[in-house]
Symmetry: C2
């Protein structure tokens, strides 16, 4: 397996670093398809590197092999010499030509040996391409042939090897193929999808990714063959695609089409100066039509390429920010077929949930569809579990709840008629104690603007509450943040996070600390010391002391990441826990979660925040599994206001 | 009134040309706010012109007036000399300062005289700004003061004058103010909205525009004060805003915020190369943070400005393409508040419908909200009217209908149980004869991709139809496009377009001509000659012969544009009908519609396609009212395939 280091994540997407013999590639990355013949290539690879920051390209080993003059140069100067490019070069193998023309004159063994000879950084197995609509039996036969070829190629290939994942539209075959590729490949290259993209069959593309992805090794680098259009990058990245490759920038240019992340425009239709890029400074789009056809094609290809490169940078930026779902939703407005693909993705939340971060800055609604994001589905499911078996005497407040009014609710309980309060939210009724928790808490959605706060004062709120339950029950307006309410919210939040069984013990003796300005809970204290800090995501996260408390009350194995003995001294000092030293972890944890760090004898070391999901720990050979947020010598926590 | 010429339109938006003493401005246009003191201005106006194509700016006459050194230069060299800018200069008058500081030291008369003296191209009345939340009475008082000042200013101002429209959130006052401004101003400047934009109160901004717009003179140029954020331009343009102005590019830069049409990003959060503009070639965004604060602010302001300029170009491009609703919907995904604003806009379809074009290339669904566009509402309403009083024996086909199968339906009528067939569409059930008509016909929506065609052959379709009505009725699969069906579709399309009363006479003797490839109706012929041509929008449009037929059967006044005698010889030769020669028109016509052109004695001249709405004809002093599409000497029509 190659060296892949994960740095940030969102959905299944990973921002990371992939090290190859010719340098490190920041992922997700676009590998432009480059023709091995410089005369047929509209933008020179070195210019891509110099002007667009492209660090890796893909070219055809097969075309090089079958074209004597190219082959001679490649055998003599290497593929890097032929392309005059010093970055990472991936080569493909003729599978496309084999499919298009029925056969190629080269054997799978010959082409991998040739790729070795020309010094490619990432060689590709000559696989058997199947059309999406091929039946199960034929697809299965082709797939097994691909696996046999991959096995033979692996024997011959000491360096990085890309193994294609085939299987057409058959989920079981995709999964089988993904498992086989994971055993043999460094780069796991999902193939056979170009027809789906060309025909805008995005829901089916999504089903292919959804059935392949869970079976792919987390330590592998995921490639998607032929992801050409920038409008699709965010969606593909959501499924953990690390490398895109495409010749679409050139193909679209050949037919006079301008690519944008919002769709395609015919160059001839462009009549306004809609672009101020560095290329349009030289020749605006509106003037390209007047150029000789070859020059026009070359410039348009260059333009399309930078649009793609820029969009991949936006995808990386979104992964850093935790806004990739937002970006994918925004892009899905480019075409109804893409929006249908996004909806399909949301229907596969089980694929996302094991690595979907536990919270983000805010839940921002982009489309109506946003409310079906996996994080929202997880939340709703957890609320249903949480509420199951509770007292039936509930009242639902049919308006948004502001934290400064929460305190008034328990007072109303004196009527004895309502024990559980729920607030209407965009995600359905939610117990009021949880209305600060992500995604409800920092929720930025359309409701907020359509229904501006109706209750501008506590008394107006009181009236509304009284109307909701139809009673004149007593209401003590002077007792803000009553101790009873404080106690209740602490108990309920602890229960939300750590379960009903352990909650009473954990919550025992904890006192609520609230923001004076907003009334929001911001910490849980014992003897004046914070044991849990509550961030803007509304989740309680243990301090060092809180971790010790937790350690005594949840177990065995629960909420824990077990640290290898060799790493214990470093973790004790607050150094990050690296993947290779994470022995095992509670499988219920997700990235972003705060967990207990313990040694192999379950001694408590501190608290860490997960970057990797439990199933990835140990398998990733580089990088951090968890960042230590509290250890014995941590400075006292600062509370967010 | 100034000279404004309309060239293309969409929604209420207009692409046009506005002529001023210092050149012509292509609208919609952004007028960057420029500080009169060059030292305080981050980007020089001449550089804006040279590098961004900015043809017009706005600056403060009041600040110039009250700052002796600036005033001296302006009085000596004119405002163009002070700004060192040779394009159009609009000046504002201190209303903002008057509002912010309670008063200004200049009278409304003085400041307009000063604006005359310094040679401004567009002077602005010193109006009385009111906050959106001011009550009706105070807003009304302020408004009447604004009108009085506007009247006095008009007396003093020979050149172009901008008259603000105030009225807060009160629809009646906005309409009153808009009417008053329309009588006095060349530029009708909707004001008092900056607080709404700053607080993201877009639904209220939309209500202001919806109540002002219908009362604004169509020949006036509409300005919206302080439309600063590029994400809002498409929405504002939909309401017919021709000029935006804003200092937001600079204000945002001051607080380190990067503007994009998809929202705002803190510069410090930008960690990837997400931009390849000409400025980022010099210094990438990721490097700006390292610059000295002033330089950083200057460069960020420049960057923000080009983003705004580019977005306005995209708005103009979208108006040309007829895709402005799509663009506004896409942009609305930038922020939930903006999406709420868009929904509000759709709830004011009555404001759009008089000038909403009758069809576009295709109805492309961007968001779920798209189906509420005014054109869709108009269609639904027309279908309801069309279906009212028809036979109750209807059957609704709960699947998409493909034109090549339509022929099979009348055969089923033999069962005697179904007389009217409707097809389920994204816009509700629609009579099958109309399923090729915009917006149903060229519909590009999510259904199409979620529910791929289920009926791949006529026989599968037959089974589905039989299942739909639950009968084994006879089905004649050999009789494609039966004469009965042809006759029926022709009759129904004519009725759809020209009404039930006139239809039988108009349709008499017309024969259907279909595309051999798709089965779609493409013309209606009589004696082998096309009398109506049916385009991809499914609407019948008369040829010269068809117009003559129509002329005999609809009237009086209906479907007609009356041509002034002086223009009759030109129109007969196929020259465009100019606005000033359009005497009157059937008020039921909308832009894009094909209408009969007649002289003042109702002699038939030919057929024209409307660019202006009837209520705009004659009032616009420049430009085309209708393009002549068929006249006595037209070459024979070519049919679309």
């Amino acid at each position: 397996m190659g060296d892949f280091e994960l740095l940030d994540r969102d959905g299944l997407a990973r921002r990371g670093r992939f090290t190859t013999p010719h340098g490190t590639v920041e992922t997700p990355a676009l590998l432009p398809v480059v023709h091995p013949d410089p005369v047929r290539q509209p933008v020179a690879p070195e210019e891509m590197r110099h002007r667009l920051g492209v660090r890796a390209v893909i070219t055809s080993a097969y075309i090089t092999w079958r074209t004597p003059p190219l082959r001679a140069v490649a055998e003599h100067e290497g593929i890097h010499g032929l392309l005059r490019f010093d970055g990472t070069v991936m080569t493909d193998s003729g599978a496309f030509q084999q499919h298009a023309y029925g056969s190629v004159e080269v054997t799978p063994e010959e082409i991998v040996t040739f790729q070795n000879a020309i010094g490619t950084d990432i060689a590709t197995v000559l696989d058997v391409f199947t059309e999406p609509d091929e039946p199960h039996d034929r697809t299965g036969v082709a797939l097994r042939e691909t696996v046999a070829r991959a096995r033979a190629s692996r024997e011959l290939r000491p360096g990085l090897l890309a193994v294609p994942v085939q299987g057409g539209l058959h989920p079981d075959l995709r999964a089988e193929s993904a498992r086989a590729a994971s055993e043999l490949g460094d780069v796991l290259a999902v193939g056979g999808v170009v027809p789906l993209m060309e025909q805008y069959r995005f829901p089916e593309l999504v089903r292919v990714l959804a059935s392949s992805r869970p079976a792919l090794a987390p330590e592998g680098v995921v490639h998607l063959f032929g992801t050409g259009h920038p409008m699709t990058f965010a969606l593909a990245a959501l499924f953990g695609v690390d490398l895109f490759d495409s010749s679409a920038y050139h193909k679209f240019a050949r037919r006079g089409s301008l690519m944008t992340p919002d769709g395609t425009i015919a160059l001839d239709d462009v009549r306004e100066e809609i672009c101020h890029c560095f290329l349009c400074r030289e020749t605006p789009l509106t003037k390209l039509s007047g150029l000789p056809p070859e020059e026009r094609e070359r410039r348009l290809a260059y333009h399309n390429l930078w649009v793609c490169v820029e969009e991949v940078a936006r995808v990386r930026q979104a992964i850093r920010e935790g806004t990739l779902w937002e970006l994918a939703e925004r892009r899905s407005a480019a075409h109804p077929a893409l929006r249908a693909g996004l909806r399909e993705a949301m229907s596969h939340s089980e694929v996302f949930l094991p690595s979907e971060p536990d919270s983000r800055r805010a839940f921002r609604e982009v489309l109506s569809e946003s409310r079906a994001r996996p994080a929202a589905q997880r939340f709703r499911h957890a609320v249903d579990l949480y509420s199951a078996g509770r007292d039936e005497r509930r009242a639902i407040l049919r308006f948004p709840l502001r934290p400064e009014y929460l305190a008034h609710l328990p007072a109303l309980d004196r009527s004895g008629r309502v024990l559980e309060w729920e607030s209407a939210t965009p995600f359905g009724p939610v117990p009021v104690e949880l209305t600060d928790v992500y995604p409800v808490g920092p929720y930025l959605g359309i409701d907020e603007y359509l229904e501006r706060p109706r209750h501008r004062s506590p008394s107006a709120f009181r009236e509304a509450v009284l109307a909701a339950i139809g009673t004149g029950a007593e209401f003590d307006r002077d007792r803000d943040w009553t101790p009873a309410w404080d106690e209740r919210q602490v108990a309920r939040l602890v229960e939300w996070r750590y379960g009903r069984a352990a909650a009473p013990a954990i919550a025992d003796g904890l006192r609520a600390e609230r923001s004076r300005r907003t009334g929001r809970l911001r910490a849980m204290l014992c003897d004046g010391q914070p044991e849990f800090v509550v961030g803007t995501d509304g989740l309680p996260r243990p301090t060092y002391r809180g971790g010790a408390r937790l350690h005594g009350h949840v177990g065995p194995g629960r909420e824990r990441v077990v640290v290898h003995d060799d790493a214990v001294p470093f973790v004790r000092e607050g150094k990050s826990l690296f993947s290779t030293f994470a022995v095992r972890a509670d499988p219920a944890l997700v990235p972003g979660a705060s967990a207990l760090l313990v040694d192999e004898s379950d001694h408590y070391l501190g608290v860490g925040r997960l970057l990797l999901a439990p199933h990835e720990m140990g398998r990733m050979r580089r990088g951090v599994a968890a960042r230590v947020t509290a250890h014995a010598r941590s400075p006292p926590s600062e509370l967010e206001e």
